[in-house]
């Protein structure tokens, strides 16, 4: 049997190498070998950071690791570094490094340019795109484009990657934090211009919808293609607010990490319109080149707004959720589970609400009856989200970040708190909002040692399946894949610290899915999620087939459909 191949819906193969070295000019001239290898954790850094942070910073999905792990199809996501990661003062992970005086492995020029607003997020985006383009041209990877939709029918033994943009801030062409100033800092040597640099230097727009349209046009001219867009990322982008984001940054306490606003904005709607109706013109011919919207990182209210807007505008393209966990709750059950809520005023005066929601039990395991729970933070999907994605024939990528999957922290109650936009809190909890207790101290949200058993991953998968079987007529097993978020600053599951370990993950899923299914149903009820034989066992070939689907086939099929615009 040929060794199995894998799919990953969301990972960042060059991100860590990209931020290692700032290049003055565009395009990149760095050596290809340098770009495909692992992120170098220097020894001073190892001394500086604790084990947890080292796992986060360690290389998880460089090109060499993709090859080693036989990841043949996936989506390379680009998340331009946001300003909150460059805040020296917040005492978080990056603050520690930035204040350490270490010049490696991160290139501080990047960090300084972002913090001081000398560059635009858009420029960071196209610079990282350029790295992929060079790797593609060198035959190290293959970048997927709808201009060559057949390529997955007989793929070469290299990673085939589509492009995703993680965060609408990547569309913003003004200097970071200075929406009145066009970014004119990109220097391109004569003769080295390409469609992206030309568009950037000659066709400035401050309209994110137009920026999206233009970048897709420029990408197609280079035989690249943007597959999906995550509207928000981990911070509130004042200068170009598309939608309220979901709180998700425990390690950083910059004011922009706190959600603000109330769902999708006018600009956000314009970007969605542009994404779903996008056409590019090649050789004088208009071709549909829509961009999928990924619901990850959007606040719950933003997600609900999105579903309503799609309905209103009759948009039918699949919704995707590229690297998520689940709360285990429907919206109403989640509201019922609200425990504590209090208003907190940021130092700059804005109110946000800190909320604490009881976690839903996924199931118990073993003699000690170890309890597994879902992460109840609203960055994770509610049942309505799962339903919306499944019904749209979309794909759900389950994250391999233990925190997202429901890591348990027994030591401190404070760790359960998340933050929510004060306005959105009132949307969901109008009654509670009237009795909000006065500002309380910010909780310290530090990751701690926790259970990283593969059961946590199984429970997330099973909940998606369960919701799919109950709420839809879809075949949910066919709409689930892995969206690891490797190299997206995640704390990976212990059995699969990087992409080269995917085959270990496969073994674990085969081993634990049947166990988890019993535990899940015992706790949550519902019909069978796995077909079982009369003797109660799950037939091995069937089980292996399901796991194969999750780890490869479902994703591969989805990408094939994308390549043909879901025709």
């Amino acid at each position: 049997m040929a060794s199995p191949v894998f799919f990953d819906f969301h990972l960042h193969p060059v991100f860590k190498k990209f931020i290692c070295k700032y290049e003055e000019s565009y395009p990149s001239t760095r050596s290809l070998d340098e770009l495909t290898g692992q992120f170098d954790l220097t020894s001073p850094l190892v001394k500086l950071l604790d084990e947890e942070l080292l796992h986060i910073l360690g290389s998880q999905s460089c090109i060499d690791q993709l090859n080693e792990g036989k990841l043949t199809v996936g989506v390379a996501a680009i998340a331009p570094i946001e300003r909150l990661f460059t805040n020296k003062a917040d005492g978080g992970m990056f603050g520690k490094i930035l204040n350490s005086g270490l010049t490696k492995p991160l290139d501080l020029t990047y960090m300084n340019n972002v913090r001081d607003g000398n560059v635009s997020y858009y420029q960071l985006f196209i610079r990282e795109v350029n790295i992929y383009k060079r790797l593609h041209e060198a035959g190290k990877i293959h970048m997927l484009t709808r201009q060559a939709p057949q390529v997955l029918n007989s793929p070469a033994p290299i990673p085939h990657l589509a492009l995703g943009l993680e965060g609408g801030h990547g569309l913003c062409r003004t200097l970071i934090g200075q929406p009145g100033k066009q970014d004119t800092s990109l220097t391109v040597p004569p003769g080295a211009e390409d469609s992206l640099s030309k568009d950037f230097t000659t066709a400035f727009t401050s309209n994110p919808a137009k920026s999206l349209q233009q970048v897709q046009q420029a990408l197609w001219e280079q035989e690249l293609d943007l597959c999906y867009l995550v509207l928000t990322h981990l911070s509130h982008i004042d200068e170009q607010l598309l939608a309220t984001h979901a709180y998700g940054m425990k390690m950083i306490k910059d004011v922009s990490s706190y959600p603000m606003g109330n769902g999708i904005t006018l600009k956000g709607r314009q970007v969605i319109d542009a994404a779903y109706t996008l056409e590019v013109t090649l050789n004088g011919t208009k071709t549909p080149a829509p961009v999928l919207i990924d619901i990850k990182h959007m606040s719950l209210k933003s997600r609900l707004d999105l579903y309503a807007y799609r309905k209103e505008k009759k948009y039918n393209l699949p919704l995707i959720a590229s690297h998520i966990g689940v709360t285990g709750y429907s919206v109403n059950a989640w509201k019922e589970a609200l425990n504590e809520a209090s208003t907190m005023r940021l130092s700059s005066g804005e109110p946000v609400v800190t909320i604490n929601v009881d976690r839903k039990t996924a199931g118990f395991w073993g003699f000690i009856n170890k309890e597994f729970t879902y992460n109840a933070w609203s960055i994770n999907l509610m049942d309505e989200d799962i339903e919306a994605v499944l019904v749209s024939n979309g794909l759900i990528g389950i994250s391999l970040d233990v925190r997202i999957l429901g890591w348990q922290d027994l030591l401190s109650k404070g760790d359960k708190d998340e933050f929510m936009s004060a306005e959105e809190f009132r949307f969901f909890f109008p009654e509670r909002a009237r009795q909000l207790v006065p500002p309380a101290v910010e909780s310290q949200l530090k990751p701690t040692r926790e259970e990283r058993h593969p059961l946590a991953l199984c429970f997330n998968i099973l909940h998606v399946v369960s919701v799919g079987l109950i709420r839809t007529d879809q075949k949910p097993w066919k709409q689930i894949c892995i969206g690891s978020d490797y190299d997206g600053l995640i704390n990976p599951v212990i059995n699969c610290r990087d992409v080269s370990q995917l085959s270990v993950l496969e073994e674990n899923l085969i081993r634990w899915l049947p166990v988890a299914e019993r535990a899940y149903r015992k706790e949550n009820g519902g019909g069978p999620l796995l077909d079982r034989q009369p003797n109660g066992e799950v037939e091995p070939a069937y089980l292996k087939g399901l796991v194969r689907d999750i780890l490869y086939t479902n994703g591969e099929q989805f990408m094939k459909r994308w390549l043909t615009n879901f025709q």
Binding site: L175, I176, G177, P179, G180, S206, N207, G261, T265, L436
Partner: protein, 933 residues
Amino acid sequence: MTPSLPLDPTTLYLADKAATNYAAHADEIDKITRRITENRSGIRSLTDITDDKSRLFKRAAREGGQFEQALERINGIPDFQDMAILRKIVRASTSVCRIILQGPSGITGYGTGCLIAPNVLITNNHVFPNAGTASRAIAQFNYELGDNGQVLTPVSFRLRPDLFFLTSPYTEQADVPFSGRDFTLVAVEPTSTDGGSLSQFGFIRLDASLGKIIEGENCVVIQHPKGDYKKVVLKDIRLITFTDNFLIYEADTQPGSSGSLVLGLGTADAVALHHSAVPRKDANGNWLRKDGRPRQPGDTDDAIDWIGNEGVRVSCIVEAFNKLAIPEAMQPYRAKIVEAQTPPLVVNSPSIISMSPPTLVSGNAPRAEASPTTSAVSAAPLPASTSGKLLYFEVLLTDQSSLQADWAKRANELVPGLIDQTALFPMSQEPVARRMVYVTVRSSENPWALAATIEGLPHVEACRPDLQSLTDIGRNSAATEATIRITESEFVINNGTAEPNEEKFLENWGKSIQVQAALSNGAGRQRWWHWSAINWTNLNQGVPDLTEDEFRQLRERLAQMRLIQLDTGYSDHSKVADGYNTDLDFDFIDDDNDAQDERASVGIKFPYHGTRTASLVVGGSLADATSKLDGNNGLLVEQGKCLTRLIPYRIAQSVILIGRGKQVVDGVNYAIRSGADVLFMCMGSYPRPMLEAIAREAYEKGVIWVCAAGNEVGLVVAPALYPGTIAVAATNPEDKPWSGSSHGPTVDIAAPGEDVYVPFLDKKGQEIMVYGSGTSYATPQVASAAMLWKARHSEELSDYLPWQVVEAFRETLKASARKPTGWPQGYGKGIIDITELLNIKLPPKNTLTHAYKNQKDANPHSVGIAEAVHFIWNVFSKKVSPGATESTLGSVPLTQRGQQALAAFSSSSSSGGRESSSTMTDSDALLRYYFNQ
């Protein structure tokens, strides 16, 4: 060696009650005790013991500095204690005395007491249950051993329950308020039996606020156990939990003495009055002895297995003290106690004056509202540990990066008493805004003097106090009618109500151009006269070239857009009740999500300022359909439906806002970050760096901020005077400027503001409408127009940079303005013409100039000048409205710097005495210099 005592019935009762309270909190106690054990073994930090984040935050605030650093200090090094704390404890211990209870036949018992004011001591009620017991007792200070073990000479004082005696019985009694708190306060003779002075023993302030101690921290108990020499228990005694009225802490091996003072070791602040030990009990409720067997009759306290101690919380004592009734004769004493807890401090307060005096019609001056300028801070008890009040400063750091870094590292060393310092504009990339920090200091210094000290640091370019104060309403509420003379108008009554004044209006303006124009549309239309002046009827007529579909989109867009009102909050006046979006409001004064104008009731001066300004945008119909006074709807109301609902942010306590500038900045900042389209603000003040910075921030983020130019002060006020905002002056029905309107080159546009028809209450509290004047009433019309304009061009404007949106509005506004003949300078381009505004083309992006393009960073004025301006500004307000401020102005302490600055302006411009009319001229020169006008 102190003798063991048999257990008397009071002790039995109290200990039993304490045991019940203990049992009721068993889970919590169990949890905390476990965590304390973990802390002792080093696996949990002290600050991780409590689950009460609010308390932890307040505890940390007492440490000062950044939160993280404060936690570190609280956690400290195990078994190490700062000497400073010990010194404080020693100081506190001198105020603790032994109480000798005497009966007819001699000594009957002992207790412990403590001075909490220069001549008042506190002990338990079960020590002094009544005045009689107290009058026979002796308070003995200095009953302790000296350095060499010798007995010091005790100093004894008689007690004077006849002068002051206040008690809360140790038993809870349904008919006795605040009973069960087991404390007694009693006056002490100021001179001892042998002529010594009581004042040498000082006193301990009781601080009712939270944060003096957190669960798991150590307690220190100062006491005379069983009448023995004064002792302090320094063993590792941890606070376990807070219950409603009590603290529970770990047991000493000996039960403490009644009336002992419990201090938090971390802060050396008094946290409780010890009153009982807690015995261990078995399942049947029997007390257990240390040998595990049930208590036997005749057992002494030594035999009992005490598992905890209970003390009455200081906050509960203070609450009862504040609320318990006492005889009139004792009131002066009570006042002295309050005074002792709260060092009086007079602070100046920045004032923001409204631009809409709720008056009227007649040409009588003066018409503007004014604000009081100072207020004595009292009421809130101050922490005993530190003297002084929280003061706030806006600080502009130097642009030198080493000094900035040094400040970041050492601000708490550089500024004594620093509690906190945070970036004012953490999201801004504007170089000046990035250097602005907001500093909180605890100090009893004059804030201007302290500002000068801070400004003297090499790290600091400028420092201004952002003065906190009570509201004028708070100060005057007891005597509203007597102290407030707001206006000489015949229509507005001193208590803030009004009377209908249409007759007078028609008498004055019936023949005017705009009233005539309005009347040509029908009888009664005089109430809508400003609609004619601004050329507006409704959307369909205003933008006639739109298709049905485009109209629908325009309305949808308007419904989605955000119009924020920065004012006194909303009210339930039926004229506007349906026009507010009360899902998105916020109260930046009271820090909650309800921006209701809580002062909006009859009897309070100028209620409903926000209601009146809002009515011009979203005003509907009065609920009383029979009212003949209704009229004049909001500009964004069509056929009874609001096109946009107004989001109120309450940034002013009353129209005479006396609040901190930071609250305005917070409101604007939140509006910007939540995606506001248009803001309007009908209040202003003298220029201040942080208002300037937030005005620029709004501009850079593309928020159209429409501001009233100002009333009666002549000068255009902040924020209207900043380049980024849209400044609005007021006109009258003759299309002439209103005489009270501020004017100057920074004014962009004018709109009707004199005698505009707005909602009010009459003296019976009935909803009415009257004609009132102010740039406050001009401003909402321009804000409404901004909404219509932005909605109309929303697609096109998506391609403009954020600041270009504001500038395009300003340009279009000016280009479309109607300029009556003989239009004077300083009132903008003319009167707003909304129909024209919506129908002319947008200016191309490349023709627009950034409002700050040629703006140089001005050198900040010195702190002395700022102080003088602050002073003059308030004198000026006083002149405008004498009643509101005259009682307090005299107490404003000008620092020497302020006096010098003032003197400089006096001598330069006047030859006569400053006391006379020339004061005005001087003020004017100083203000014009400061306002740069």
